[in-house]
């Protein structure tokens, strides 16, 4: 018979724990159930050896003195995740059809789908929040000198992520296909076209030809939905790996070697 777990009573009133040897050392089904989570993790770990990596990532030390400015990076990543989740829900309804289907599908989401306007609002404003957080995170890195040795490569990855975030914003702006989206994108693509050397080729690539046409919307849609999110996710992975590998920076005003207390603590 399985037994219910003991109620939370004061220690003095608890029954003494079973002594070794009681119950012939056999685990009851309840014991198995209690250990189920551990067993599953063990099973996976036996086949992947991931626990070392998880421990390396989660139980690494973060230097003394880190403050709230150090949460801006993870906040940016969180904003990206929010964009990804709301974006998936929008993609369930969206049709990249410039002859009316795109606008109609967004109108349908906004006006008729349950919580549709709310999710679209989260996606729209989430992009602004993400851009602000990217810039704040970059500002923190810049002013704290955190791009210096040995973290130069992580700064480069961060700059690519900043550019990709702007690309996301630019390509996403067209998708609702209302007046604002259409004309702002035409202007944006034409601005690209004035660039030196590659400019005309870039704007032809974005439009899918010399004229703004049916191909343009599906091109923006594919870039916005597949190409850039994939790149961002992969680069966030690389960015995080390097953060864990090199360690979070300490605030620049902390100097261990000149601080006798900290020196002593090390010894």
């Amino acid at each position: 018979m399985p037994k219910l777990p003991a109620p939370p009573v004061p220690a003095a009133l608890k029954a003494p724990p079973p002594r070794p040897g009681d119950g012939n050392g056999k685990a009851t089904p309840l014991d198995h159930a209690a250990e189920a989570g551990i067993s599953v993790v063990d099973w996976v770990d036996e086949r992947t050896s991931l626990s070392g990596a998880a421990r390396w990532m989660m139980f690494r030390k973060v230097p003394k003195g880190t403050n709230w400015f150090y949460t801006l990076g993870s906040a940016t990543m969180f904003a990206f995740l929010s964009q990804a989740v709301t974006g998936v829900f929008l993609a369930m309804f969206y049709k990249p059809d410039p002859s009316g289907g795109a606008y109609e599908s967004i109108r349908h989401v906004t006006n008729e789908v349950f919580l549709g306007q709310f999710v679209r609002g989260m996606h729209k404003w989430g992009s602004s929040v993400m851009v602000i957080l990217v810039f704040l995170h970059m500002g923190r890195t810049f002013f704290f000198g955190a791009y210096k040795y040995p973290r130069e490569l992580n700064w480069l990855i961060g700059v690519v992520l900043l550019i990709l975030t702007m690309v996301m914003s630019f390509t996403g702006y067209l998708l609702p296909f209302d007046q604002r989206a259409y004309w702002a994108t035409i202007v944006g693509v034409n601005i690209n076209g004035t660039g030196p050397l590659l400019g005309p080729y870039l704007s032809d690539f974005l439009r899918g030809g010399p004229e703004f046409g049916a191909v343009t919307l599906s091109r923006f849609y594919a870039i916005h939905m597949m190409l850039v999110p994939g790149l961002i996710a992969a680069l966030i992975g690389a960015h995080l790996y390097l953060v864990a590998k090199l360690g979070t920076t300490a605030p620049p005003w902390l100097k261990a070697e000149k601080n006798p207390e900290l020196r002593k603590a090390k010894a």
Binding site: F78, G121, F144, Q179, V187
Partner: protein, 244 residues
């Protein structure tokens, strides 16, 4: 940073790191709280400001004023401020490209060992200057008038004349601005210089009747404006015939 400076940094850092706390749960707790704040911001923005949907895209309109997302306003303003055609590529592609290249080069240019903000005056000054410039351009861009507007001040003679003349001048200015004339003509500081002639002083070259005739029966590729309602047409003619 030379080799000994690098080693000193790594030594310093390893001490500070050894003094620290584990990422889980201390940093994770802070990050989680921050994530809640971010989520709360996004949800509040969505609930308060919503997601508007304008009217359907219409490629044939000529009067629509495109606006980018607010974080591109600084580029938009840069393009508006820089007028000479030879400098336009610099404003549109040059500045962003140079900005990106500088960001990429930053860790290779600034290789000094110093990390404290107060001891890096050049970096701090540059950073604060860039932030202020972008903030100012964003602010200006947000408050910029529509690109299909004529910012020419009304001549004092017309203001003094008042009444019918002034009303027709202002109405004509508006119709000209909205009719896409600025795409090919320059009027004062606004519009493109070509392919059409500069209209800033058109009245000194063409009499009133000449202007009206050209509007009805123009040289290609300019479209004819004979289908404008007579009131608007007269306003346009009165406006243009005052540009001396």
């Amino acid at each position: 940073m030379n080799k000994s400076q690098k080693e000193q940094y790594l030594r310093e850092y390893s001490i500070l790191k050894a003094q620290g706390k584990p990422f889980f749960p201390y940093a994770v707790a802070k990050d989680a709280l921050m994530a809640c704040v971010v989520m709360a911001c996004i949800i509040t923005l969505s609930l308060v400001l919503g997601a508007e949907l304008g009217s359907k895209a219409n490629p044939t309109t000529t009067t629509y004023v495109p606006r980018p997302e607010w974080y591109f306003f600084f580029l938009f303003e840069l393009l508006r401020v820089i007028k000479p055609p030879s400098l336009v590529p610099l404003a549109t592609i040059g500045v962003p490209t140079i900005g990106m290249i500088l960001l990429f080069l930053l860790p290779f240019v600034d290789r000094g060992p110093e990390r404290r903000p107060e001891r890096r005056p050049i970096a701090m000054f540059t950073g604060i200057f860039v932030i202020c410039a972008m903030a100012l351009l964003t602010y200006e861009g947000a408050n910029a008038g529509s690109p299909t507007a004529i910012e020419m001040p009304t001549p004092t003679a017309i203001v003094q004349a008042g009444g019918q003349t002034l009303a027709e001048f202002e109405a004509g200015k508006k119709v000209v601005a909205q009719s896409g004339c600025l795409a090919c003509h320059k009027i004062g500081e606004n519009g493109n210089d070509g392919p059409g002639p500069n209209l800033t002083h058109i009245a000194s070259r063409l009499p009133r009747q000449g202007i009206a005739r050209t509007l009805v029966n123009p040289t290609a590729p300019m479209p004819s404006f004979k289908n404008l309602p007579p009131q608007k047409f007269n306003a346009v003619v009165s406006f243009l015939s005052q540009l001396k």
